[in-house]
C-alpha cells in the first residue's frame, strides 16, 4: 500500500469535498470553467494517464489561490491547474495576451511618450480600436504611465544618501511601482530610511506573474532565473530582499518552484514583503515608529487574493492599527475580480465585474475615507468600480508617520 504522497502538490489528499468550488470566484460567473476540483485534482488523475485529457478551459482559472486557502486537505489546486497548462497546453498565446503579459516591456515603450499614451488610451476611439483589434475591453480604465519612473527618481534623488545607513536591504519594486505608481517606491524609501535602513535596487526583471497567466512559459522562466540569480548575489552580501507588491512576492517565493520548477530554496526565505519586514523589526524592538498626532482616517482593508495565500495580511492589519487616529475595518475577504490581466480581456470583463461586486458593495456600504491594499491591480479595479481611492499600506504609513521624529528615534545610541 502506498503510505505517502508521491506528488509535491498533494493531489492524492483530495477527498472530493468540493469546498474549493465554494470559494472559486470564477466558477459562479463563467460556466466554461470546469471548476477547481475538476480542473485540479480530478483532472490531474486523467492527465497523468493521457495528456489528451487536458482541457483548454483551464485558462479561465485566475490563479487567485482561494481554492488552496479553503482546502481542508492541503491540496495545491491552483498549482495543479497551472502546472497542467505549462505541461500540456501547446497553443501559442495570442498577440493580445503577449501585450498584456509584458508589463515591463509595455512600460518601457510607453514611458517616453507617457502623456500621449495616457491621453490616447483613455479616449473612446482608442478604446474601441483596442477592443476590436486586441479584445481588450473598452470599459476598462487604464492605469496611467508616468514619464519619470521610480528608478530614475531613486538614482537622482535618493541613491547617494543610502550609504549612510547602518543597515542595508535590497528592494524589489516591481513593474507597477516603476511605471505607474512611483509613489509606492518613494514611500518605501522614506519609511525605510526613517527606521535606519538604506535601500539598494536590484537589476530586477518583471516577476512574471502575468506571463504565467498568459502562458509565456519560456519568457517567464528566463525572468525567474534572472531574478533568482540577482537574489543570490544580494543574499550573499547579507541583504534581505523586500518587496511592496504581494503578488510579486508570492510569485517569486512560491510560483517559481511550484509552477515553473525553478529551485529557489536557498533564497526563498530571504524574500519578504515590507509589512512583514517592518512588523518583525518592531516586534524584535530593533526599530521604532513615531506617528503624527493629528492623522485621522477611516480605512477599510481589502486583502488581495495573493496576500490571503501568503497569510501575511495580519502584518498589515497590525501596522495600520498602530496608527493613532485610524479606525480600520477588514473587509470580508473576496476577490476583486481583476486578477492581473484577466479583467482586461474582453471575454472576462463581465465576469470580472460580477466577481468583484461583493467587495465593491462592502466598500460602498462602509463608505471609508479610503481603501488599503497591497496589490496595484486590485487598486485599479476598485478605483474604477467604486468612488474610493486605494493606497498601498506603505504609502499610508509614510503619510501617517512623523518621519523626522521616527528618524531621530532610530538613531544609533
Amino acid at each position: 500500500m502506498q503510505q505517502r504522497n508521491i506528488s509535491f502538490n498533494n493531489f492524492e489528499q483530495c477527498i472530493k469535498c468540493t469546498i474549493c468550488t465554494v470559494y472559486c470566484p470564477v466558477v459562479s460567473v463563467n460556466p466554461a470553467f470546469p471548476g477547481p476540483k475538476q480542473a485540479g485534482p480530478d483532472g490531474e488523475r486523467l492527465r497523468l494517464k493521457n495528456k489528451f485529457f487536458f482541457d483548454e478551459n483551464l485558462k479561465f482559472c485566475m490563479n487567485c489561490k482561494r481554492c488552496e486557502v479553503a482546502c481542508p486537505s492541503g491540496v495545491k489546486i491552483a498549482d495543479l491547474i497551472h502546472s497542467a497548462r505549462r505541461n500540456y497546453d501547446k497553443q501559442f498565446p495570442e498577440l493580445r495576451d503577449v501585450v498584456l503579459a509584458n508589463t515591463d516591456l509595455m512600460g518601457k515603450f510607453a514611458r517616453p511618450v507617457a502623456p500621449l499614451v495616457n491621453s490616447l488610451i483613455s479616449t473612446k476611439p482608442a478604446k474601441v480600436v483596442m477592443d476590436v483589434m486586441l479584445d481588450i475591453d473598452r470599459n476598462r480604465a487604464f492605469p496611467k504611465y508616468q514619464s519619470r519612473g521610480f528608478r530614475g527618481w531613486f538614482k537622482k534623488e535618493a541613491r547617494a544618501a543610502q550609504d549612510c545607513y547602518r543597515n542595508q536591504l535590497a528592494y524589489f519594486h516591481g513593474c507597477s511601482t516603476e511605471y505607474q505608481h512611483p509613489e509606492v517606491g518613494k514611500a518605501f524609501v522614506q519609511v525605510m530610511n526613517a527606521v535606519g535602513w538604506g535601500v539598494r535596487l536590484l537589476k530586477e526583471k518583471c516577476c512574471g506573474v502575468a506571463m504565467i497567466s498568459n502562458g509565456l512559459w519560456s519568457q517567464v522562466a528566463r525572468n525567474a532565473n534572472h531574478n533568482i540569480a540577482e537574489f543570490r548575489k544580494a543574499v550573499s552580501r547579507g541583504l534581505p530582499i523586500v518587496a511592496t507588491a504581494s503578488t510579486c512576492t508570492l510569485t517569486m517565493r512560491d510560483e517559481y518552484p511550484h509552477i515553473l520548477g525553478i529551485d529557489n530554496a536557498d533564497v526563498r526565505d530571504h524574500i519578504t514583503l515590507v509589512e512583514k519586514f517592518l512588523f518583525e523589526k518592531l516586534d524584535a524592538g530593533e526599530i521604532r515608529l513615531v506617528f503624527k498626532n493629528d492623522y485621522r482616517a477611516r480605512i477599510v482593508y481589502h486583502i488581495p487574493c495573493h496576500m490571503e495565500k501568503l497569510g501575511w495580511s495580519i502584518f498589515t492589519e497590525e501596522l495600520i492599527r498602530m496608527i493613532p487616529g485610524v479606525s480600520l475595518t477588514v473587509l470580508d475577504s473576496g476577490c476583486c475580480g481583476i486578477a492581473g490581466t484577466y479583467g482586461f480581456k474582453k471575454e472576462n470583463y463581465a465576469s470580472s465585474q460580477a466577481i468583484g461586486k461583493s467587495v465593491f458593495d462592502q466598500i460602498n456600504a462602509l463608505s471609508p475615507d479610503f481603501v488599503c491594499c497591497e496589490c496595484e491591480t486590485c487598486k485599479w479595479q476598485i478605483e474604477m468600480s467604486t468612488a474610493y481611492k486605494v493606497f498601498n499600506p506603505i504609502v499610508i504609513l509614510a503619510e501617517a508617520l512623523d518621519l523626522e521624529a521616527t528618524a531621530a528615534a532610530n538613531q544609533p545610541r
Binding site: 469546498i19 465554494v22 459562479s28 516586534d283 497569510g311 475595518t329
Partner: protein, 416 residues
C-alpha cells in the same frame, strides 16, 4: 506578536467563542487550516437527540442530568446550559442567521435519505417537523435537477410515504445553466447548482418549471440548493410555487451550512477579529502549566503569544485528533487524550453501530482546561468536537456541544 486570545480552528465552536470574545473587547486571532465541518451541516443544530444508552430524547435540556459526569454538558451544568440556550437564537440573529425552534423540545429534520432525526434549532428555511408522528396528507411531487446524484429521490419518497403522503411523481427539471454543469459530472454538486441558482433569472425559471409540473399536488419536495447568497430566495420560491415546499437536504457540501459559515466568519472579522484562513499551527510552547505561544506555517519564525488559547480544531476528520496503530494524539499541544488501550474496542465492525472511536477526545477539567502529561494547562481551553466525554454523532449533540462549550469558555475567559 501578542493577542488576548488565540483560537485554533475556524468552525462553529471557534467562531461562536471568537465572536463572543471579540465583541466583549478581547483581541482575538483565529487560525484555521482550511475550511471546516459547517460545510457538512444539516442546516439544523442538535443539542441532544439520544442518550448514551440509545434512548431518544424529546426535551434535551431537561435530559442533561441523565448524562455522565465526564460529558461536556455535565461540566457546564443544567443552569448554565439553559442560560446559553436562551442566548443562542439572538447570538445567531446578530450574525444574520435566523433560527427557529423551541429551545426546550426537539423537532425532527428530514435527512437526505428520507428518515427523520431529532434536532434542536434549525435555520428558518430548513424543513422540520414538530414530532416523529407528524402526518402529511395529500399528494406530493418530488423535483430534482436532471443528473444531480446527491439528492436521492427514491429514498426521500420512501421515507415521506411513511408519513402518510402519497408521492404521485418524481420529476426532473432541466435548466440550461445547470445542464452546463453536467459537462463535468464531478462538478454537478450542491454548491455548483446553488451558485447557478443564486442568479435571479435561474431561480425564477426553476420556480416556473416546478409550477408547470404541478398537477394539484399539495406538497413539492426540492433540494436545498437555494439562497446561498440570499435566503430570501427560499421565501420567493414559496410565493411563486402553488404547493407547500419542503426543502430537503442534499449530500454534502451543505448549502445552508456554507452560508452559516460565511456569515459567522464575516461577523468575527467585522467585530475586529483577525482570521488566518489556510494557515496551520505547527508548533506550540507550554511551560509551567500555561500555554505561551504558537508558530504557524505562514508566519514562520514569529512566536505568536496570547493570554488565553482556545483549541477547537475538531475531531479526526478535521485532523484535530490523529490516530496511529497504538495511540490517539492531539497534534497541536500534545494534550492527553482519553481512549481505551485495547485497539479492538475502538470500533465495531458493523459500520452503522455506535463507534467508540467517535467518542475519543481531549480530557479536561470542569472548566475545559486540558492536561498535558497529567498536569492541567491553565490558560488553554478545549471546546467543540475535540472534547472527549461524549459521542456526538451517536447522541446528535455535535452543534450543541460546539455552541455550549464555546459560550462557556468565552465566559470563563471574560471573567478572568
Amino acid at each position: 506578536m501578542r493577542y488576548d486570545v488565540i483560537l485554533i480552528g475556524g468552525g462553529l465552536s471557534s467562531l461562536v467563542c471568537g465572536i463572543t470574545l471579540q465583541k466583549a473587547g478581547k483581541r482575538c486571532l483565529m487560525v484555521s487550516a482550511g475550511q471546516n465541518a459547517l460545510h457538512f451541516s444539516s442546516g439544523t443544530f442538535g443539542l441532544l437527540g439520544k442518550l448514551p444508552n440509545g434512548k431518544e430524547v424529546s426535551e434535551p435540556i431537561a435530559a442533561i442530568h441523565k448524562l455522565g459526569a465526564s460529558h461536556p454538558y455535565s461540566k457546564i451544568g443544567g443552569g448554565k446550559i439553559m442560560e446559553y440556550a436562551k442566548a443562542t437564537p439572538q447570538f445567531f440573529a446578530d450574525c444574520g442567521i435566523e433560527l427557529k425552534g423551541n429551545r426546550n423540545s426537539n423537532m425532527y429534520r428530514l435527512t437526505p435519505s428520507g428518515t427523520l432525526m431529532p434536532c434542536w434549532l434549525a435555520l428558518k428555511e430548513t424543513t422540520v417537523f414538530p414530532s416523529r408522528k407528524e402526518r402529511l396528507r395529500g399528494r406530493m411531487l418530488i423535483v430534482n435537477f436532471a443528473g444531480y446524484l446527491d439528492f436521492n429521490t427514491d429514498f426521500l419518497a420512501e421515507g415521506l410515504e411513511k408519513m402518510g403522503v402519497s408521492v404521485s411523481r418524481i420529476a426532473d427539471v432541466k435548466l440550461p445553466d445547470v445542464e452546463h454543469l453536467r459537462q463535468n459530472p464531478t462538478e454537478m454538486r450542491s454548491v455548483n447548482i446553488a451558485r447557478v441558482m443564486d442568479r435571479e433569472e435561474n431561480w425564477k425559471q426553476f420556480a416556473k418549471e416546478v409550477a408547470d409540473l404541478l398537477q394539484g399536488e399539495e406538497y413539492v419536495v426540492i433540494p436545498e440548493v437555494f439562497g446561498l447568497a440570499d435566503p430570501m430566495v427560499c421565501e420567493w420560491l414559496r410565493e411563486m410555487i402553488p404547493a407547500e415546499i419542503l426543502f430537503a437536504g442534499t449530500m454534502p457540501p451543505s448549502v445552508p451550512g456554507i452560508r452559516m459559515q460565511m456569515l459567522l466568519k464575516r461577523a468575527f472579522v467585522y467585530a475586529g477579529g483577525t482570521f488566518l484562513m489556510g494557515d496551520e499551527v505547527l508548533a506550540s510552547e507550554v511551560s509551567e502549566g500555561r500555554a505561551r505561544s504558537v508558530r504557524t506555517a505562514n508566519l514562520g519564525a514569529i512566536d505568536v503569544e496570547a493570554d488565553h488559547f482556545v483549541l477547537a480544531s475538531g475531531h479526526f476528520f478535521a485532523k484535530g485528533l490523529l490516530s496511529t496503530p497504538k495511540a490517539v494524539l492531539e497534534p497541536v499541544f500534545g494534550l492527553d487524550v482519553s481512549y481505551p488501550a485495547d485497539r479492538n474496542s475502538w470500533y465495531d465492525i458493523d459500520f452503522f453501530a455506535k463507534q467508540n472511536y467517535l467518542g475519543f477526545g481531549v480530557e479536561t477539567d470542569q472548566d475545559f482546561h486540558p492536561f498535558k502529561d497529567g498536569s492541567p494547562v491553565g490558560n488553554l481551553y478545549v471546546i467543540g468536537a475535540e472534547l472527549g466525554g461524549c459521542n456526538s454523532l451517536f447522541e446528535g449533540s455535535g452543534a450543541g456541544v460546539a455552541i455550549m462549550t464555546a459560550f462557556r469558555a468565552a465566559e470563563i475567559i471574560m471573567n478572568e
